[in-house]
């Protein structure tokens, strides 16, 4: 099976939706792919049904009316030639021939290993939050959250709103860094208001800076958490632990297409075009910046893809949200203690059960793959590769296709694809 379009958008979060709307409204034939069953990405998860968030509702309604086509449950697995993507969808697959592409693949959480982090009931901070949005039974459950930055408050607010009891919020940043960040928020009044509203809802939750998880303990599932709180130890009992340290962009598709990346972002020009012609990148791929950055960069890329003029206000908004993203990056850097929590038998690679001790003598990710099978399992190093970058300072690797586990049939290029013509944008 094959699809053809002027513009393919990979990812239907705020960045992808904004790009798709702008391009489709300008007359392009737009196809949007997303691994989730509904548009909205992680931040607007479930909003297509609930419609509780006004901003989400506005964009999802605009998207539905834009004429862009949406394929849910669609995961890009390979890019066999310029202008072609191979996509797996449920138990079938198809090829997409595109004129231009907007990559809006968003971000994932940074996990750092600690003893007990593989116990059932230990999840990511946002991982727990999105499951709660998806109907996870959190009412009456005791939850400890540990990590960094605004995601902690956002997750706590969601859990609280669904009847869960947040026992403790452990913020790894120092008090100086945390409050320094908060004091910068006056430049971003919407953020300040959002933060204040969430804090008010959570006023009774014990929150500490300079606090982190040392270990999770329990028989077959998490039952208690050992926390380091300003140098002393606490051990609250809990049903669930959310532990993750900020976000990192999902660079796999961009790297597979050959886009240049810096340490933690895709390199783009002022039209948000990557070093690969006709491929744009938006949102978290440009550095972690949240919904505001995703929307404005999505709009910019959608307009650029449709060769429309860029309104000057959009450029101003972009520069403002970019400043916020830079603040966030400074605040989010994991502290050194977090790199020393794993013991020799703590697993780093969860797919292949690779303990820390197996990495002795490895100098980089490639050696860790070859000698210890780190990152050779189902997630293809998405969890352990990111952790190893933080723990050992190893740089990321090139991505080889398929960038996700795929069936053999999904990797076959349909014979009629190369002869298919699309309208060039």
């Amino acid at each position: 099976m094959r699809e053809a379009c002027d513009l393919v958008v990979v990812g239907a979060g705020p960045g992808g939706l904004a790009a798709a709307c702008r391009a489709a409204e300008a007359g392009l034939d737009v196809l949007v792919l997303d691994a989730q069953p509904e548009p909205g990405g992680q931040v607007w998860r479930g909003e297509a049904r609930k419609g509780a968030n006004r901003l989400a509702r506005r964009w999802l309604t605009r998207f539905a009316a834009s004429g862009a086509r949406f394929r849910p449950g669609a995961r890009v697995v390979a890019a066999p030639q310029p202008g072609v993507l191979l996509v797996e969808e449920g138990s079938s697959s198809f090829a997409v021939r595109y004129g231009r592409a907007v990559l809006a693949t968003g971000a994932r959480e940074r996990f750092l290993p600690f003893p007990g982090w593989t116990l059932p009931g230990v999840l990511g901070v946002s991982g727990l939050q999105v499951l709660v949005k998806d109907g996870f039974p959190i009412r009456g459950k005791r939850v400890v959250l540990a990590g960094t930055g605004p995601l902690l408050l956002a997750a706590a607010a969601t859990i609280h709103a669904h009847g869960g009891e947040v026992l403790y919020i452990a913020e790894q940043a120092s008090a100086a860094s945390h409050w320094g960040f908060a004091l910068q928020l006056w430049r971003h009044p919407a953020r300040l208001l959002q933060g204040a509203l969430m804090s008010a809802a959570l006023i009774s939750v014990p929150t500490s800076t300079d606090a982190w998880v040392i270990a999770a303990e329990g028989e077959g599932r998490v039952e208690s958490v050992r926390l380091s709180v300003r140098g002393r130890e606490e051990q609250p009992r809990c049903d669930y632990l959310g532990a993750a340290y900020g976000l990192v962009p999902n660079l796999e598709v961009a790297r597979m297409l050959g886009c240049e990346t810096s340490a933690s972002a895709v390199v783009v020009n002022e039209r948000l075009e990557t070093r690969v012609p006709k491929v744009h990148a938006v949102g978290e791929l440009l550095g972690i910046g949240g919904v505001d950055q995703a929307l404005v960069t999505g709009e910019l890329a959608g307009l650029a893809a449709a060769e429309q003029p860029i309104p000057v206000e959009l450029e101003h908004t972009w520069h403002r949200v970019h400043a916020f993203a830079a603040q966030l990056a400074l605040h989010d850097a994991p502290r050194a203690e977090l790199r020393r929590l794993a013991t020799p038998d703590t697993l780093l690679c969860r797919c292949e059960d690779v303990p820390m001790s197996a990495l002795e003598g490895c100098q980089n990710l490639r050696e860790a793959r070859l000698y210890a099978r780190l990152g050779m399992g189902a997630c293809q190093g998405r969890t352990c590769g990111t952790a190893a970058q933080t723990l050992f300072g190893w740089p990321g690797e090139d991505v080889r296709p398929p960038c996700l586990p795929a069936r053999i049939g999904s990797l076959r290029l349909p014979s009629d694809v190369s002869s298919t013509h699309t309208r060039e944008s």
Binding site: A35, Q36, P37, Q42, G46, R49, K50, G73, R75, G90, S91, R108, E109, F111, T118, L119, P120, G121, V122, L123, G124, S126, G127, L128, Q129, V130, L131, V132, D134, G135, F136, P137, A161, H162, G163, G220, R221, N250, L347, R350, C351, E352, D353, G377, A378, C379, R382, T383, P405
Partner: protein, 89 residues
């Protein structure tokens, strides 16, 4: 913030490891797994239990056989009527 109970959400019933679980439409299979007595999706190479981690299709810890298709991610799959979910642990 609580959703009004009067606005009845349609329900679906699926089976997870043979046990019937009834959930509102829109619930993900990973979320429904937490309604069983074990929040366990698979066993690791040593047989120790694992549960979902990332909730968003990144970590692959929640893979299970759904309606006969192996290696499906529960966190990306909405619950459907008569769905058959079999975990690896």
């Amino acid at each position: 913030m609580r959703e009004p109970a009067s606005k009845a959400t349609p329900l679906v019933t699926l089976r997870i490891n043979g046990r019937a679980v009834t959930v509102p439409v829109g619930t993900s299979v990973a979320a429904a797994l937490a309604m069983t007595d074990r929040f366990v999706s698979r066993a690791d190479l040593s047989g120790r239990p694992r549960g979902p981690l990332c909730g968003m299709g990144v970590c692959f810890e929640c893979r299970a056989t759904i309606d006969g298709v192996p290696e499906v991610l529960m966190c990306l799959t909405p619950c459907r009527e008569d769905q058959e979910v079999v975990t690896d642990a």
